[in-house]
C-alpha cells in the first residue's frame, strides 16, 4: 500500500445513517457509521443477519442512498450525485461480485464480461482485448463461449469477477461472494480475490458471514444493530 496516508484513503464513510420504512414504522439500519478504507485494502464486513452490512455495502457502491452523512469515494461525494450521474459513476468506479453470481443467462461468459464495457467508448477490438485479459485473470479463457448454465458455480463466480474487474474499477464490492459455493470453489474464489488485491492492488470491500473468507481480508469490521462494534486484526 504505497503513498502517504492521505493518498491511501479511498473511501470515507462519514456519520452515515440509513433507515427503512416498513408500513408506518421506521426501522433504523445504520446509525452514524464512520470509517475509512485505504486504497488497496481488503476489507471484510461481518455481522449477524440484519446488522446492516449489506446496506452499508450498497451505500458505498452507490446502489442505495444515505439518509444522512456522506460517503466519499476517490474524492467524490456520491450522496450528491443524481441518479444518472450515480449510474455513470458506478459504471466507471465499481465492480460488483454478488452471492448468486448474477450473470445474464442468455449471454455467454465472454458477453457477460463484455457488458460493462458497452457503456464505455471502447472499440469492439479494444473491448475484446479487455474481456480476454479479464477472463485470463480468472483462468476461464477456454470457457468464453459457454453460457452460465454450462458452467459450475465456481466458474460462474469467476466470470462474475472477470465482469467486475474488466473496467478496472476503483473498488470491488462483494456481497457474500462464497455464500453459494462449496468449500473448494469458495477457496478458489477467495484465492482469486486475494490475488487481485495483492497483485493488482484492487480495493475490495466484502460482506461475509464466513470466518474463513474474512481471514483473507486485511481488516475485518463487525457490525451489530447498525453500529460498528470492533475492528480486527
Amino acid at each position: 500500500m504505497p503513498g502517504s496516508p492521505e493518498q491511501q484513503v479511498i473511501v470515507t464513510v462519514n456519520t452515515v445513517s440509513k433507515a427503512y420504512q416498513r408500513g408506518n414504522q421506521t426501522v433504523p439500519v445504520l446509525e452514524g457509521i464512520s470509517f475509512e478504507i485505504a486504497r488497496g485494502e481488503f476489507l471484510a464486513l461481518m455481522g449477524p443477519s440484519g446488522s446492516g452490512k449489506s446496506t452499508l455495502l450498497n451505500l458505498i457502491a452507490g446502489i442505495d442512498t444515505v439518509d444522512s452523512g456522506s460517503i466519499i469515494v476517490d474524492g467524490v461525494d456520491i450522496a450528491t450525485l443524481d441518479e444518472s450521474d450515480l449510474a455513470r459513476w458506478r459504471a466507471a468506479h465499481v465492480g460488483f461480485i454478488f452471492q448468486f453470481y448474477n450473470l445474464i443467462p442468455v449471454l455467454t461468459a465472454y458477453e457477460n464480461v463484455e457488458l460493462p464495457l458497452l457503456l464505455t467508448s471502447l472499440s469492439r477490438r479494444e473491448r475484446r482485448a479487455h474481456v480476454e485479459a479479464a477472463l485470463d485473470v480468472v483462468s476461464l479463457s477456454d470457457r468464453q463461449e459457454h453460457y452460465p448454465s454450462q458452467l459450475s458455480g465456481g466458474q460462474q463466480q469467476r466470470v462474475a469477477i472477470a465482469r467486475a474487474i474488466v473496467t478496472d474499477p476503483t473498488i470491488l464490492v462483494a456481497d457474500e461472494p462464497t455464500g453459494d459455493l462449496d468449500r473448494v470453489s469458495a477457496g478458489e474464489i477467495l484465492g482469486l480475490m486475494s490475488r487481485l488485491n495483492l497483485e493488482q492492488g484492487k480495493t475490495i470491500i466484502m460482506v461475509t458471514h464466513d470466518p474463513r473468507a474474512a481471514e483473507k481480508a486485511h481488516i475485518v469490521r463487525h457490525l451489530e444493530k447498525g453500529l460498528l462494534t470492533d475492528v480486527s486484526p
Binding site: 449510474a87 460488483f96 445474464i104 443467462p105 458477453e111 457488458l115
Partner: protein
C-alpha cells in the same frame, strides 16, 4: 448489434410462450388484413369508378327504367362526350350459387366508355356482329370454365325465360382494380325479344352512362341532364359513377362498420395478450434489470431492452402475418369470387398492419418498462437468487 443479440435471445428465453405470442400476433394481423381487404373489396367498385363518367337513373328508384329516347337529348347536352346505356339483367346461370353481374348493354358505346375492359379486336368485332353474343370477364370465364364459342344459357329473373348467349369475347382488366367477373350482352337482343313478348317493357333502359368531356364539369352536366327531364314521366337522377356505386355500399353500411370494428377489436385483444406477456417477462427479469442498473446501465437502456423485446415479438408476428395475408387473401378471393370480384390487399392495409405492430409493441411495453425503470437496484437485487 449486441442489443439485437440480447433482444432476440431474451425473446426466446421462454420459447413456447414467445412462439405462442408471435402466433397470436400473426393470426391477429392476418385477421385484420383480411377484414380490411374485405372492406376494400366492398368499396372496389366505387374506387374503380371513373371521374369522367356519370350515371343517370330514374329519380324515383333504380328499379324503374328510363326511355331509350332520352339518349339523343342527353348526347346534345353541353359537356357530354358520349352516352351509353345498360340494363341489369339479373340472369342466373344454372344455379344461384353461380351469381355474377350481368348486363344488357349497347356494346359499341359502352365498351368505348369503359376502356378498362380490354378485349382483343377480333373478339370485339365478333361480339358487335352477333346479336346473341356476349363477353365476360377473365375471372368469370375461368371460374365457370367457359371458352370462346360456348353457348351460355341464363335463366331470367327480371326478364322471364331462358336466354342463350354465345361467348364471343373474354375481357381482361386494364387495372388490378377492374372487375373481371361481369357478363355483358347486346341490349338489342333483350329489346327485340321484349318487343315480341312484353312490348311495354321494350325500349326501356336501366341506366345511362354519360361520358364527360372534362371531369370538372360533372356537377354542371348532372344538373343539365336532370333539368332536361324535369316534370317528365321519368325524371332522372344523375350522379358521378362513384356516388352511384356508393349507393349500393350504403345499403350494407352496417356490415362494413361491423367488419371494421371487429378488425380493430382483434388488434386490441392482441395488444392485451402481448402486454400480458411483456408484463410477465418484466416481472421475471426485475432482478436482471437491477443487475444492469448496478453495472451503470440507465433507464433508457432498460427501456430499450423492454421496448425492444416487445417490438421484436410484435414485428416478428406482424411480418409473418403480413406475409401470410397475401396467399390467404388470394385463396379467400378465389373462394369468395362471387361476392368480391376484386379482392386485393391494399397497400394501405399493409401500412396499417405495420403501424399496428409498432403501436402494439410500444403500448405493450409501457407498463413493464415503467416497472423495470422504477425498480431500485438494491430492491431488485434482493429478488435474485
Amino acid at each position: 448489434m449486441f442489443l439485437l443479440k440480447l433482444l432476440s435471445r431474451n425473446a426466446f428465453r421462454h420459447p413456447l410462450r414467445t412462439l405462442l405470442t408471435i402466433f397470436g400476433i400473426t393470426v391477429a394481423i392476418l385477421a385484420f388484413g383480411l377484414l380490411q381487404t374485405v372492406v376494400s373489396a366492398w368499396y372496389a367498385g366505387a374506387n374503380a369508378s371513373s371521374s369522367t363518367r356519370l350515371i343517370s337513373r330514374n329519380a324515383i328508384s333504380l328499379i324503374f327504367s328510363l326511355p331509350i329516347a332520352y339518349q339523343e337529348r342527353i348526347r346534345h347536352i353541353e359537356g357530354v362526350s358520349a352516352v351509353s346505356y345498360a340494363n341489369w339483367f339479373g340472369g342466373v346461370y344454372i344455379t344461384e350459387k353461380n351469381f355474377f353481374p350481368n348486363f344488357a348493354i349497347e356494346p359499341k358505346s359502352y365498351l368505348a366508355l369503359y376502356p378498362e375492359f380490354v378485349l382483343a379486336p377480333e373478339e370485339k368485332r365478333a361480339f358487335l356482329l352477333d346479336r346473341k353474343g356476349c363477353v365476360v370477364g377473365k375471372k368469370l370465364a375461368e371460374r365457370l370454365g367457359w371458352k370462346i364459342g360456348d353457348i351460355i344459357p341464363l335463366k331470367g329473373t327480371i326478364y322471364p325465360g331462358t336466354w342463350e348467349f354465345v361467348l364471343r369475347g373474354i375481357y381482361t382488366g386494364a387495372e388490378k382494380s377492374t372487375d373481371e367477373s361481369q357478363f355483358f350482352f347486346q341490349w338489342e337482343y333483350l329489346n327485340e325479344s321484349l318487343k315480341k313478348t312484353v312490348a311495354r317493357r321494350a325500349n326501356q333502359i336501366g341506366v345511362y352512362v354519360i361520358g364527360l368531356k372534362k371531369p370538372q364539369s360533372a356537377a354542371e352536366v348532372s344538373l343539365a341532364v336532370d333539368s332536361a327531364f324535369r316534370n317528365s314521366l321519368a325524371e332522372t337522377l344523375t350522379e358521378t359513377e362513384k356516388a352511384f356505386q356508393l349507393i349500393f355500399i350504403s345499403m350494407t353500411e352496417a356490415i362494413v362498420v361491423a367488419i371494421r370494428i371487429v378488425s380493430f377489436v382483434v388488434i386490441i385483444i392482441i395488444m392485451v395478450v402481448v402486454a400480458n406477456t411483456m408484463a410477465m417477462t418484466a416481472r421475471e427479469r426485475i432482478g436482471e434489470y437491477a443487475i444492469f442498473k448496478a453495472m451503470g446501465f440507465q433507464a433508457h437502456h432498460i427501456a430499450g431492452m423492454v421496448f425492444g423485446e416487445s417490438l421484436f415479438i410484435t414485428t416478428a408476428g406482424g411480418c409473418l402475418g403480413i406475409l401470410l395475408t397475401f396467399p390467404v387473401a388470394g385463396k379467400f378471393g378465389e373462394v369468395m369470387g362471387n361476392f368480391f370480384p376484386v379482392f386485393q390487399v391494399d397497400p394501405l392495409t399493409l401500412q396499417m398492419d405495420l403501424a399496428f405492430c409498432l403501436v402494439v409493441g410500444i403500448v405493450a411495453g409501457i407498463f413493464p418498462t415503467w416497472r423495470a425503470v422504477r425498480i431500485k437496484v438494491a430492491d431488485g437485487l434482493r429478488r435474485v437468487g
